[in-house]
Symmetry: C2
Subunit: 434 residues, 2 copies
Amino acid sequence: MQTLDLSLTDLAQQTRQAARRLAVLPTAKRNDAIAAVASALEAASEDILAANAKDCQQAAADGLPKPIYNRLKLDNTKLQNTIVGVRDVGKLADPVGDIQIKRELDTGLILQRISCPIGVLGIVFEARPDAAIQIASLAIKSGNGAILKPGKEAIESCRAIVDAIHNGLENVGIDREAIQLLTTREQIQQLLALDEYVDLIVPRGSNAFVRYVQDNTRIPVLGHADGICHIYVDEAADIDKAIAIVLDAKLGYPSACNAVETLLVHNPIAPGFLPKIAAELQAKNVELRGDDRACKLVKMNRATEEDWSTEYTDLILSIKIVDSADEAIDRINTYGSGHTDAIVTENAATAETFMSQVDAAGVFHNCSTRFSDGFRYGFGAEVGISTQKMPPRGPVGLEGLVTYKYRLVGNGHVVATYSGKNAKPFSHRDLPVN
Amino acid sequence: MQTLDLSLTDLAQQTRQAARRLAVLPTAKRNDAIAAVASALEAASEDILAANAKDCQQAAADGLPKPIYNRLKLDNTKLQNTIVGVRDVGKLADPVGDIQIKRELDTGLILQRISCPIGVLGIVFEARPDAAIQIASLAIKSGNGAILKPGKEAIESCRAIVDAIHNGLENVGIDREAIQLLTTREQIQQLLALDEYVDLIVPRGSNAFVRYVQDNTRIPVLGHADGICHIYVDEAADIDKAIAIVLDAKLGYPSACNAVETLLVHNPIAPGFLPKIAAELQAKNVELRGDDRACKLVKMNRATEEDWSTEYTDLILSIKIVDSADEAIDRINTYGSGHTDAIVTENAATAETFMSQVDAAGVFHNCSTRFSDGFRYGFGAEVGISTQKMPPRGPVGLEGLVTYKYRLVGNGHVVATYSGKNAKPFSHRDLPVN
């Protein structure tokens, strides 16, 4: 691997150059590259699986926890499914070249705002070899270079994967340097310092890791630190809907960031609702932690202050009884993480207040928080979920990997014409986008 | 002023609460608030001018440089024009509540992405009292709270202005805390640390100051550090157009960030073009600093390496002769600041290559770099110009002061329905946006 012979700065510079050439390729050429990468991965399947077997052997020897081991382990089915996913990325609409604004400023002076690749992505992810494949295909699709740093347990697998990707790229005449692999943990810190060459960092992994990245780089970060999702069950809730939604949001996939962590119950319905939902949850081994009033209605552990701001990612649910929708909104805006929060109510006015005033990327009414997901939203691919306030916010599709530039074409136009006493007015006429 | 009695954290919390109430007001109500603020400013004109006279007296005693003094000084005409500007902001399209996506995920499960205010803006600006008025009106229009920190020379003027704004807001029943004033320099650092309460920092002022802000906060920053704009005059340029464009871009307003700082001239036309443009520029007292080849064609100072990455904001222009459009592109991508760069050429293919490959917020063909401006682009108002890579990029209108949230409305929908063996497919049907 040449990556070992180069300083990270040189490597990033190479990626930047390669990304510039990738950025100007037409849609068809980038889709060809994706197809070539898919074919190269197919051709290298045996090598990739052999490399993965080595990683897995080492992981077993190191006593890697079972869930992490399972994510590391590639079998042929998982690999072939991932390659199908690469071909699917080829079929997505091109996020590059989208004309967002087309406006005549004056006769012969035409402004366009057009989406374009960001440049170089730095992606630091967990020990999941299939993630390297997904990410590389999304980067190529969006015309970006990518520097990949996988979890150390997946290094051999990712070497084999990136070798195959390089072969695929070279088969269609694209610089292999567009996709690079980092192999040591020390390189993460160096990567975060390369704000001159890297335009966006996408960290995947634990909350603590994402926060570490956010605190240690000037490069923009696309990621979410916490998913502390709430469901508020209002006095006007349909109780059957409320039960179905809470069960779905807690039990479907407790370690997902869009799983519910805190249930807020409106006081008037608590005596009827809480025992019912508690029985259902406890039957599924969910540990409940309640505030004083909740504990009086149902036998459960008492929640501490820390519980209200904890993402359990486990079969645990905190429960608080509130006196009003306003109190629910206040609590969510105080303790929530701005990911996704839901209200269950048949009262449209209450729902509207909740959805306007809750400050989160997703505000849901009468449905499960677990719909908060790029695929479920219909984005085709999910680059990540952002809990930052500024766009892109929430589940981010391919559009999160592009930016835009303004192109202005004139014919000798100068600003002096439009200034001073005899200033010509601008026409500012929006033109149809073809 | 109550601001003096409160800790900055308490003040920011108040602003956050007030901003939440402002955010959910309908368009008409926010426009009423803007009208009320304009009227209150009119009513307080005498007080504002008297306060400004005090600031100016102090500034004169302190020997404030003339250009800064001129920006500080308010006369009645300037004040009334600024108030007219406030009423104009009222007439702009509402950036809040714009439906960007409306999609049926399944029967009765409707996703919408809707623009909404960001929350609380922290705005640190120079000693320009009129800027306080403009910024407050843009914040109210976009449903955001704002914490204003003006240059210390403008404190008395800004106190009188913010008092009037508070009166205007209270006249229509809006919390005065939505707009707050900071009065000491120490508060800047405290403000930058309040990432829990402040959602966006807009720094205005010197490049060094903007960079200081970027380096000292976790809050997103909307601003540009440098405006190192290039014009490349290609061998296929129309020389008359090239001369007109370069003169406009250098002479119109040399201290603007969209003024040209470096001229790149294609070698084949340099002997004909350079003496002509140099004579015109030198006649207007522009100091020229050239590379070796330029110095051989025209008598001028020799440029140092530092010149190529300097924003002069003055009547100085660096000049380099290049051998190809590719060399010009490389230099711009190396030394430019990603603000605005232009090519002058009659060759459409060369122009296209330049515009695709130059990595800047504005890429211009046959027109002056000085068109890079929110008003000239037709945005109605300009919040700032961003040279960051991620959106918002380039001149930013009111859309830079809003974000969006996803609203999902169902009727008891759960994710389990769409998972597993008998998964129901999503419809993902885009609906017309009303």
